[in-house]
């Protein structure tokens, strides 16, 4: 009996109270997909506004609320939980030969906290004095002064943080305690290494944003004076505390994405992964070094010169483990028998777009250039290349890769290819234009724009239409496959990791008899590995 089959009384309660890690994964997927489309809609609305340089369609105040809500939803409700909550939940236990995560009830509680946080975030839009207008970063002193519903939105992020911490604790413990016989550390699939590294960031960094956001609420309610300069507080301290979490959060977003890509590339290149240990430990290195670079978001905030120089240097260093992964993926492809299935196409697109996002990030790490680029559309373009081009495309690649296993249905590859064409062109038109606009001096978060920027804004808006059309085709294809897709084989791609030994979809507790692992993963060419 598969985990999708009717359980107990059936109905909604058999899902929302289920402690099965696979069902919890689908609960996240459902909720996140809804929020993703809400945020996409808001993004499209913002682009429509820029069809004109001045007043058009929406007011300036609404525009401020829209970019704030777009950021809050995308960051806290889609990109951060994205791969760990959906694919981590579903595949981490399976990939290490376990029946479930270490704390199944805690796992379900994480989802309920996620749901609660999401509801509070929604509530903040429609209640009280109006949607927050601070940007997703809630920078003080503006977030202390504005009359909009900042406290509730900040509290929502606090609750979502709890969900993330509990998920991280669960994953770390699962990796340490639940591996099956023979699953040594160096036989673990690299997605597991990525999720494990991410778990550490979730556990260590998230409490800092939690306490920081609570301080914002206390500051707004009681004027305690920690961040408010008028009361002797330090607004730059807020930025430190915010980015101590929020920069590592970029790695919460990207490291699991890299893990998923590392599963996909060897499967479709039919080659053993090149540099297993280098990739495994580079995940830990990214988690470690990536936690020490937060202040590169603050080079223009008035920090000490010494701090600027040190954080700039550390920013350059964090590029090294990321590059290790890219070089190893490339080396894996070398002389491989590449099968360009949709999952592989999206995975390679991740590598291309993430390389652009990563390298432009290194550029921004240079102090001189940063002053020019700070708070321009360049930054918006850069982080969309990382978050959407990186995490977003990796999410789609992972979904294309694991969809048959998760749902027991196979999708039609042709619409997935067509969606890719639309998305790839639209994406680069949209965010490539952003980068050029920023380099020319267009500030981010401006409601209006000058005439010299209009043609690029127009190109970006047209790109957004192509991008959203591609997304619609991709998701439509998934929905059709859910309804009418052909039954999937247990191993449609010829994968070598444990999930492909299970039927599609897997049974409720994954393995009838606990597996025994006798070799390393990705054993396509074991002689070469030896």
């Amino acid at each position: 009996m598969s985990y999708l089959d009717r359980q107990g009384q059936g109905g909604l309660s058999s899902w929302i109270f289920s402690t099965d890690h696979k069902r919890v994964s689908l609960l996240y997927l459902t909720l996140m997909t809804v929020f993703f489309w809400v945020a996409v809609g808001i993004g499209i609305a913002m682009r429509l506004k820029h069809l004109s340089g001045s007043d058009f369609l929406i007011s300036a105040r609404t525009y401020n609320a829209l970019f704030t809500v777009h950021g809050v939803i995308m960051v806290f409700l889609f990109v951060i939980p994205g791969l760990p909550a959906v694919f981590g939940n579903f595949f981490l236990p399976v990939l290490i030969g376990a029946k479930d995560v270490s704390f199944p009830r805690l796992n379900l509680l994480s989802w309920w906290l996620f749901l609660t946080g999401a509801c509070l975030a929604l509530l903040s839009l429609f209640t009280g004095p109006g949607a927050p207008d601070t940007g997703w970063t809630f920078y003080v002193p503006f977030s202390l002064r504005t009359g909009t519903n900042v406290s509730l939105a900040v509290f929502a992020a606090f609750v979502l943080g709890f969900s993330s911490i509990l998920t991280g604790i669960n994953f770390i413990t699962t990796v340490h305690r639940m591996r099956c016989e023979g699953m040594t550390w160096h036989r673990m699939p690299l997605f597991v290494w990525a999720i494990y590294s991410t778990g550490w960031i979730q556990v260590l960094a998230t409490p800092i944003i939690g306490i920081t956001l609570l301080l914002v609420i206390l500051e707004r309610a009681f004027g305690i004076g920690v961040f408010d300069p008028a009361r002797g507080g330090d607004p730059v301290l807020y930025q430190h505390l915010f980015w101590i979490y929020s920069h590592p959060a970029v790695y919460i977003m990207i490291v699991p994405a890299m893990g998923a890509i590392t599963e996909i590339i060897p499967t479709f290149a039919r080659r053993c992964i090149f540099g297993y240990k280098a990739i495994a430990y580079s995940s830990l290195a990214i988690a470690g070094l990536g936690s020490l670079v937060w202040a590169h978001h603050m080079f223009t905030s008035g920090m000490a010169d010494l701090a600027n120089i040190i954080f700039s240097l550390l920013t350059f260093l964090v590029a090294v483990p990321s590059a290790i992964k890219v070089f190893n993926w490339t080396a894996t492809l070398y002389k491989g028998s590449t099968d360009m299935q949709p999952a592989m196409l999206y995975a390679l697109t991740f590598v291309f777009l993430f390389a652009i996002g990563g390298l432009t990030g290194v550029m921004q790490g240079a102090l001189g250039l940063n002053v020019h680029l700070h708070d321009t559309y360049w930054i918006v373009g850069h982080f969309h290349y990382v978050m959407f081009g990186g995490t977003g495309f990796a999410f789609f690649a992972a979904l294309l890769y694991w969809f048959p296993k998760m749902f027991g249905r196979q999708y039609d590859p042709k619409p997935a290819y067509a969606a890719w064409v639309l998305m790839f062109l639209g994406f680069n038109m949209l965010y490539g234009s952003f980068m050029v606009l920023g380099y020319m001096g267009m500030p981010r978060r401006y409601f209006a724009h000058l005439p010299q920027f209009h043609s690029l804004h127009l190109a970006a808006t047209i790109g957004s239409w192509a991008l959203v059309s591609g997304l619609a085709v991709l998701f439509g294809n998934f929905l059709i496959a859910l309804k009418r897709g052909a039954p999937a084989e247990s191993n449609p791609w010829g994968g070598k990791t444990l999930e492909w030994t299970l039927p599609s979809p897997p049974a409720a507790e994954n393995f009838h008899t606990p597996p025994v692992v006798t070799e390393a993963p990705y054993s396509y060419n074991p002689k070469a590995r030896a």
């Binding site: 556990v203 730059v236 020490l292």
Partner: protein, 96 residues
């Protein structure tokens, strides 16, 4: 399987607890003294002595001493990360 898993726990000698308490008081005295000398010294003292105090509490009072290397390592990592975060933040605050 360690003793904790058998539900036996550990009884730490009163003498050891008193020594640790004494050490904590002494370190607190040093912190207060440093804060009277200069703000910079106060920050430096807090960044170095407070983690030692925290570790003493964790090690003896919270029985990390009797845990395996895994849990001990995890707690040490968490404490070290906190120290690093605060220390790096003071790179800005101390030299601004």
């Amino acid at each position: 399987m360690n003793d904790m898993e058998h539900g036996q726990g550990h009884i730490v000698e009163a003498a050891i607890l008193l020594k640790v308490w004494g050490a904590l008081l002494a370190l607190t005295g040093l912190l207060v003294g440093a804060s009277l000398v200069s703000p910079t010294l106060a920050v430096a003292a807090m960044l170095t002595l407070t983690p030692i105090k925290a570790w003493l509490v964790l090690y003896y009072f919270m029985h990390i001493k009797y845990e395996g290397p895994l849990l001990r390592g995890m707690v040490l990592i968490a404490l070290s990360v906190l120290v690093i975060f605060i220390g790096m933040m003071f790179l800005d605050l101390a030299f601004r």
